[in-house]
């Protein structure tokens, strides 16, 4: 599969998928998207590169697959959720209670809201990405 056409196509498409997944992640709370989809899309993009370039080449060229990194992502995602989820417990609220702030209105930005759920979603993103990447790299070895 490592033909020139697939390589070129992958080079163009993979960054687009990355950007799309980031957009989906950020807008997830308000319209379609979210941590899962973003994570699965990131992994799809990487698997595309994988198919196009083959394992060894990709590792050498981009240095993208140190398996340590995958596992660190997995663990840090879970830790992030556990830590941010435990903060409400200190204030005598249930585990994983989420809140949001309504920031003062600034004219050119409009009303801004910051939700703590973004940390949770980030944790989901990290964990799922880390897990799926470890699966993929493990299977394809």
């Amino acid at each position: 599969m490592t033909t020139l056409i697939t390589k070129t196509a992958a080079k163009i498409v993979a960054p687009l998928i990355f950007v799309t997944s980031m957009v989906l992640f950020v807008q997830g709370h308000n319209t379609i998207g979210g941590g899962f989809v973003a994570a699965v899309l990131i992994v799809s993009a990487i698997s595309l590169l994988y198919i196009a370039y083959g394992t060894e080449n990709l590792t050498r060229l981009l240095n993208i697959y140190p398996s340590e990194l995958n596992r660190k992502m997995l663990v840090s995602g879970l830790m992030l959720i556990l830590l941010t989820g435990s903060i409400p417990v200190l204030f005598n609220m249930p585990f994983l209670t989420q809140a949001y702030w309504v920031l003062p209105t600034i004219s050119f930005l409009g009303e801004l809201k910051i939700s703590t759920a973004i940390f949770f979603d980030l944790g989901v993103l990290l964990t799922v990405t880390g897990s799926l990447l470890s699966i993929l790299s493990g299977v394809s070895r």
Partner: protein, 791 residues
């Protein structure tokens, strides 16, 4: 006086804590761990002493929403048994130091003994029936470890298993009884039950559950206390180290059953209670006394005699409270009193047997003669304790037996007729007790020492506990009224008797005294003939194959065989068979429900009708059929992918864009993983046989039909969805709120995402943990690939 909850909690839970610590400090202390354990037991015993004279209950909620409380109840009976258990614990630990000198030391031994003591104290002081059950099973479990302590030998293993099986069956029966009580009264609180014993009994009777409850609780007590037909575990358990036998099989474990019956005496006593307990008691007392007479090993004699004496206690509890001419609490007091005296002399005798086995290597009667010369002090102790066991006048055993004789005599006198068999059999049993006590005594006398081996000086740690026990027996013998006063506290739930229980040196001839004297004379007469008796009884017993031991082993054997047969029928068949049974059953259950439901199947119009739907669904069906018909791996996987993508389109059409997007992405990734894996697998195998295909088709069509009707019925009407309104109201912002930080609302417009990250975030956390675990397991599986698995 207010009960101190803290000290009760310490009494019960300190031994458990200490058991855990034992493993830590054993490397430092080695065999001195015995002193540590003895210290723990001493702490418990002294805390129990501080509770002396108190009565009542105390509780602390553990999980109040589930009505789980840690409750304690204290009265005279629990103080008596608790003091026995902890005090015997102290002596046992000290004795273990000397006894274990020649044996394999291990922290497990001390830890198991401590756990046993803790659970025993837990049974005694808990006032919650569930806690009593848990502690009860814990005693069975720890005794399993203690009996199997020499677990290299097969006999140890099977004896430990026997004790565990029999006593835990008893425990389950007890749980059944507790649940019956709970189903009527609605409470597990023992102190509540004991505060109104008569109304508990009458409501049990009103529902017709009194007799079942009574029977299972008595059976539970009888199994723990080694009563016929459950007595077989006790002689087998004698393979345990002797200190364990002294503790478990004279003072603590077997007394748990007696304690249970004593505890439930106020609630359950009545005509049925008396009839069952008197029957079990008298049969056990007589028969096991006979077994003791014919037994060849020293510890076996003591074991059978323990069962016999416990039969006497149960008879005591069985004496009706309505007898005229004696105090109503006579039976209860005689049972409890005998519990105390028996524990003191029997533990001493066990410890003496331990000295013989450990220092002289003597385990059977044939080895033992003229030991007087070698161990004079122990011989004096042995003679005294045996006299107590025989119930010779003016010893401690005499007084408790007198009370029982008084009870059965009055009973027979009141009712007459067949009831006279009770005093007669009692005389018979106690004359047999005289016989086996004489056998024990005669070991120390006789012509010449059979052993040439010089006796090492006895370690003081072994002599000290024996002398303490003998001293206590002596105190009870001299002044029995101290003990009686103490026990009478516990019978406060009875109407105060007009006739006080008289105990003391008999000053005139009474029927009970006559019974004692006649059994003594008969016993001595029988002793001269005991060799003939042994021969006759042994031949009778061995000629019949109806011994309970063989029934037990045949039951266990057939259960084992049945289990093996079941395994070879189910476990070793192919995965196909498993799946057929599983799926077939899963399909049958809804099929039966559908057949009996008689629901009118109606087509609802609530689902929207779209032509696009039909096309998508058609492709899904056709795709799946192609998956099933494909004859190569790669085609199957590709068709499966088509089905997956079409399902994503279906989600999109059913207004679930988030799900559709995720499905699309996931399908892509799964396809990649499939393709990577398929390259490493062999080619497709093809079908086995056309018959099999046809059979499978029938099952599949059956399942499909069941699901079809299930879907039709479940989608024909939809419940009003309040939950939809809740989520769509709460997902976004509160209208017109001026607060800056808001908790109750999600603050997002994508309801599905808000549910995932906010309302049901814990579900999501669980889900990503599954994914993470799957990843880690995959890495482990792949890592183990090149490490030489079993081919």
């Amino acid at each position: 006086m207010e009960l101190n909850f803290i000290s009760l909690a310490i009494i019960v839970f300190l031994p458990f804590l200490a058991a855990a610590i034992t493993f830590l400090i054993y490397p430092l202390l080695k065999e001195k761990t015995a002193y540590f354990s003895a210290l723990i037991a001493l702490t418990c015993a002294s805390l129990i002493l501080t509770l002396f004279g108190t009565t009542g209950s105390t509780s602390v909620p553990l999980l109040s929403s589930l009505d789980v409380h840690l409750r304690f109840y204290v009265d005279g009976l629990s103080l008596l048994v608790g003091l026995l258990a902890s005090g015997m614990g102290v002596l046992t630990f000290i004795y273990s130091l000397g006894y274990m000198k020649n044996q394999r030391h291990s922290p497990t031994y001390y830890a198991a003994l401590l756990v046993f003591m803790g659970s025993m104290l837990g049974i005694i002081f808990s006032a919650d029936l569930i806690f009593i059950f848990i502690f009860w099973e814990l005693t069975s479990l720890s005794s399993y470890f203690l009996i199997g302590y020499f677990n290299n030998e097969n006999s140890s293993k099977s004896a430990a298993k026997k004790a565990l099986i029999i006593t835990s069956i008893g425990g389950l029966l007890m749980l059944l009884g507790f649940l019956l009580i709970h189903s009527i009264t609605g409470t597990f609180d023992l102190s509540l039950l004991l505060s109104e014993p008569t109304s508990v009994q009458s409501s049990l009777r009103a529902h017709g559950l009194f007799l079942p409850t009574l029977v299972v609780i008595i059976l539970a007590g009888a199994s723990k206390s080694a009563q016929i037909p459950f007595h077989i575990w006790l002689p087998s358990a004698m393979v345990a180290p002797t200190p364990v036998s002294a503790f478990l099989h004279s003072a603590a474990m077997v007394k748990a059953g007696v304690y249970l019956l004593g505890r439930f005496h106020p609630i359950l006593s009545g005509d049925e209670w008396s009839l069952i307990l008197l029957t079990i008691g008298i049969i056990t007392m007589t028969l096991t006394a006979l077994f003791a007479v014919i037994s060849t090993s020293i510890k076996e004699l003591l074991a059978y005699s323990t069962a016999s004496h416990i039969g006497l206690m149960l008879m005591g509890f069985g004496i009706p409270i309505t007898l005229t001419g004696v105090s109503p609490s006579l039976g209860f007091v005689s049972g409890s009193f005998h519990l105390l005296t028996h524990a003191l002399f029997k533990a001493a005798l066990f410890l003496i047997a331990g000295v013989l086995a450990c220092q002289l290597g003597i385990k059977t009667f044939s080895d033992a003669k003229g030991l007087w010369v070698k161990i004079p002090l122990i011989a004096i102790f042995a003679v005294f304790a045996s006299l107590c066991m025989a119930g010779i006048p003016l010893t401690s055993g005499f007084y408790s037996k007198e009370l029982l004789f008084q009870g059965v005599y009055t009973l027979a006198n009141n009712y007459g007729g067949i009831w006279w068999i009770l005093p007669l059999l009692s005389i018979m049993a106690s004359s047999l007790a005289v016989v086996y006590s004489l056998r024990f005594i005669m070991m120390f006398f006789g012509s010449q020492p059979s052993h040439k081996k010089d006796v090492q000086p006895l370690p003081p740690s072994m002599v000290f506990p024996i002398s303490i026990l003998i001293l206590l027996s002596l105190i009870v013998a001299i002044s029995p009224s101290i003990a009686i006063d103490f026990i009478s506290h516990s019978s406060s739930s009875y109407p105060p008797g007009h006739l006080p229980i008289h105990i003391g040196i008999p000053d005139h001839v009474t029927p009970p005294l006559l019974m004692s004297l006649s059994s003594l004379v008969l016993g001595v007469a029988l002793y001269t003939k005991h060799k003939q008796i042994s021969k006759a009884t042994t031949s009778v017993l061995s000629s019949k194959h109806l011994s309970i031991d063989s029934i037990y082993s045949s039951i266990i054997l057939s259960l084992e065989n049945y289990g093996l047969a079941l395994i070879s029928k189910t476990e070793k068949t192919s995965m196909r068979t498993h799946i057929i049974w599983l799926i077939g059953t899963l399909g049958m259950l809804p099929a039966i429900t559908l057949l009996y439901l008689h629901q009118n199947i109606s087509i609802s119009s609530s689902l929207p009708h779209q032509p696009a739907f039909l096309i998508v669904l058609l492709i899904i069906i056709l795709g799946t059929i192609s998956v099933a018909r494909s004859n190569s791996h790669i085609m199957g996987v590709l068709f499966l992918s088509i089905v997956g993508f079409m399902i994503a389109v279906f989600y999109l059409l059913s207004n679930a864009p988030d799900v559709a997007l995720t499905q699309l992405a996931v399908e892509t990734l799964i396809l990649v993983i499939f393709l990577v894996i398929i390259g490493k697998l062999p080619a497709y195998y093809g079908e086995a046989s056309p018959i099999r295909v046809r059979l499978d088709t029938i099952l599949s069509i059956f399942i499909g039909t069941v699901v079809f009707f299930a879907v039709i019925i479940s989608t024909s009407s939809f419940a009003p969805k309040d939950i939809v309104a809740f989520f769509s109201n709460r997902a976004s912002y509160p209208i017109g709120s001026t607060e800056n930080i808001i908790f109750d609302y999600g603050g997002g417009t994508n309801i599905v995402n808000v549910i995932l990250v906010d309302f049901r975030a814990l579900d999501t956390l669980g889900e990503i943990s599954v994914v993470a675990l799957a990843a880690l397991s995959i890495l482990t599986l792949l890592h183990s690939r090149n490490q030489g698995g079993v081919k």
